[in-house]
Amino acid sequence: MALNLDYSFLTADVIKSNIVPGFEYALQLTLVSAVGGIALGTLVALMRLSSSVALRRFATVYVDALRSIPLLMVILWFFLLIPSGFYAAIAGDFGVNHRPEFSAVITFTIFEAAYYSEIMRAGIQSVSRGQVQAGYAVGMTYSQCMRLVVLPQAFRNMLPVLLTQTIVLFQDTSLVYAIGAYDLLKGFQTAGSIYNRTNEMVLLAAVVYFILSFGLSMLVRRLQKKIQIIR
């Protein structure tokens, strides 16, 4: 009936050698693919709103395709399809030895871009048409108008939503078990299996993910209130 939890094995050494590397990787994966995903996503959003039919179609297929496949399958596909020469080319032996970890970064960047692009599209569409017309009226080109007038406003309006999506992204990093990358969850599981304390480690993983995600979403909520006042 009782769980008889025993955390006595969890010394600073165990944490440092098993969990910290996983935590660091989960953070790197989140940050790199959030930044890359938002940049790529903005590009896709611009394509989707462009006047070129070909670009629009490409962007629609990109977004719809990635959004109807489970992330786990996308992770498997990228791991299968990216040749190992690619990892050697970007990071030498280190890349070849950390193939799952690098593969996940590329996968998440491209996958999350589909989700970020929908957010950025809503953001761009929330900027009033008068702003664009004013930009053109003072002689700006399309790219100047986007860079200097529309995107900064779109980005600021959507900042809370972009950050919320990034918290989801952080939770999704736990799915890299599909290709065996060493993330936060894997760190806990490794420690749990070495010391035969699976239950303790799964529960602790839940607590850590909860504190991080809940804490960050509280911060996002405060930011949202602040932005509302500025507007």
Binding site: L3, S68, P70, M73, L175, Y177, N199, A206, Y209
Partner: protein, 250 residues
């Protein structure tokens, strides 16, 4: 490429136990082709998703309503529920249902993993649905709630006849994307041993060393599932749309 396609097609019609290739792609009693195995896995995927969706809709609506009630304790319970199930990754939640909960309630040890997947995925999604239901109720002007209460309706009647008929129809479009999400999220159930499509993709890929073939089959079926749910939900949405709302019936 065409050679790969030919080999893939042949593989899907091959027995999973011996080297027999069935011309119809369907083996008789006692044997199974890879295509049949894939369809079985598809069945498990749909079963997990649909049962979990039913659980999520019921519990999510209840929790969403609780979060809008005047009673502080009840509202807090609803908020806590939502935050708990929203801020822990789905795979971690499923591992807890699989490893930890049966230790607490030993009768659950006899329960097959798929039932734990129903519950785990259902409760995970209930938090998201509760979020939608809450904001749906909050979009209704406060005056309607007061009008209902002023007419002498009880709080329960106000929800039943005034608030929920509007709120639930407002949130329907977002439920479409939740139904698609639950199909995708069901792929995590393989982590606790449910033999659904992700399990098939890795397992059959491993057995045959034709990973791309198996992934492709699974990906196509995920596409079809997502697309079908999308169409079904769009139909429901059209029939229940609020007259007068943007894009609503005139």
């Amino acid at each position: 490429m065409s050679d790969w396609l030919r080999r893939s097609a042949e593989l899907m019609c091959k027995s999973t136990t011996d080297e027999t290739v069935y011309s119809t792609c369907f083996a008789g009693k006692g044997d199974l082709t890879y295509l049949q195995w894939l369809f079985q896995a598809w069945g498990w995927t749909l079963l997990v998703a649909l049962v979990a969706l039913a659980i999520a809709l019921v519990i999510g609506t209840v929790i969403g309503v609780m979060r809008t009630l005047p009673n502080k304790g009840v509202a807090f319970f609803g908020e806590a529920w939502t935050e708990l199930f929203r801020n822990i990754p789905i795979v971690v939640q499923l591992l807890i249902w699989y490893n930890v909960i049966p230790e607490l309630f030993t009768p659950l040890k006899a329960v097959p993993p798929i039932v734990l997947a129903f519950v785990g995925l259902g409760l995970f999604t209930s938090a998201r649905i509760a979020q939608q239901v809450k904001s749906g109720i909050n979009t209704i002007p406060q005056g309607q709630r007061y009008a209902g209460l002023a007419m002498g309706l009880t709080l329960a009647q106000t929800y039943r006849y005034v608030l929920l008929p509007v709120a639930l129809r407002v949130v329907l479009p977002t439920l479409t994307s939740e139904s698609m999400n639950i199909i995708k999220n069901s792929s995590v159930a393989a982590a606790i041993g449910v033999t659904e499509m992700y399990y098939f993709a890795t397992q059959a890929g491993e057995e045959t060393s034709m990973h791309a073939t198996m992934y492709l089959g699974v990906t196509i079926l995920y596409f079809i599932s997502a697309f079908t749910i999308n169409r079904l939900a769009a139909g429901v949405e059209k029939r229940t749309r609020l007259p007068g709302a943007i894009g609503g019936a005139k």
